[in-house]
Assembly symmetry: C2
Amino acid sequence: MLLKGAKLKISEIPEPTIMRLTVYARCLTDLVKQNVQVVSSEKLANEAGVNAAQVRKDLSYLGSFGRRGVGYETNHLLNKISICLGLTKERSIVIVGVGKLGSALLGYQGFLEKGFKMVAAFDTDKRRIGSSIGGIEVIDLERVDEIIKKKNVEIGIIAVPAEAAQKVADRLVVAGIKSILNFAPVVIKVPESILLRRVDLSSELEILSHYLNSSHKE
Amino acid sequence: MLLKGAKLKISEIPEPTIMRLTVYARCLTDLVKQNVQVVSSEKLANEAGVNAAQVRKDLSYLGSFGRRGVGYETNHLLNKISICLGLTKERSIVIVGVGKLGSALLGYQGFLEKGFKMVAAFDTDKRRIGSSIGGIEVIDLERVDEIIKKKNVEIGIIAVPAEAAQKVADRLVVAGIKSILNFAPVVIKVPESILLRRVDLSSELEILSHYLNSSHKE
DNA sequence: ACTTGTGAAGATGTTCACAGCA
DNA sequence: TGCTGTGAACATCTTCACAAGT
């Protein structure tokens, strides 16, 4: 779990709420595009696939700026959420491992749209080093320290095979990375001061598989 | 959240536990490979990055077959977890959308290793249809019904742009899919009888971004 | 002596229900 | 009247602490 072991509260806002805020942000972006000025908790809940009380409780962590009897001003709300998620600041990210998955992530449009800037890609495979993927040159992993420091990179994405993941994580930590998003199917260990999240593609299928098994639905 | 709204309990086992079981399974696979015969909750907890009481509680949902004073037999435990996760049965999956991300998922080794069989890939782009990616031919989405029924496909992966995701989901549902793993950055709606999970790549970065902002750690 | 299995306590998250305000 | 904001009730999940088994 993220932040386990931290003694002081990192944030007043529960992690499930943070997760849902990212969803609300997406819904609000759509609404703003459609020129919708105001949205009720009911409507937003419906868009986001949660219940209305949940939306109100979640938003209450950001302050109270809905108007009773009316709803929330879409633009303003989106702005508040963006600030909370730190999306008003451009953040530099690097990716380590440019196999199929890494390459796909490297070119993922969604990151760019949210203000994440892919500044470099690393690999150890000599055949990949020097090539260019989506306009970003693949650099020897040996140079990761230099570039993380020079470009003030805050987030590192690990997309290497499981066996290599821990070593890559260690290098990123030494280089001064602040947070890691790990796609390798293995549990990696980092100091408590480093933020770590894991995206496990197989696990997701396995979870579906479990529920497929035990499907005695109404 | 998965399964919201189901009146009967789908499974006695809490979802967070299911998630961790996938991790334990991976750790156990490693241990078995290393010829480790027995593992304590302490050791497994350490490998999985959780605490020992949690491991014991999680495993207790599967029955009690640890040996007090000794630990758990790795092979046996792995077997029990595999059964619980439904991994003893081969499951067919299809993917819709073979852009960068879709193509990467199509060739993802991890799925194969866990007994998931990629039986087809679909797209609507004429330029992609007929090509072959990782040995799997890309088929016109029009034929999705036919193939899902013929090959008894249980899981559909959506890797299309956000705008197209809901329509693709609707098609999959009509075709008789039982569960969907959605990679499109949008909330899609499906009938309650369909299992749905979402993997949101941007959200993961946004969550890190939030905590990077509010880092007033000890 | 060592480690599991599990009630009970504690912590966290969700939903309800309604007061409060436009 | 309509919708927000929120304390309180409820539900769920995690951790503790120790009895019980080998």
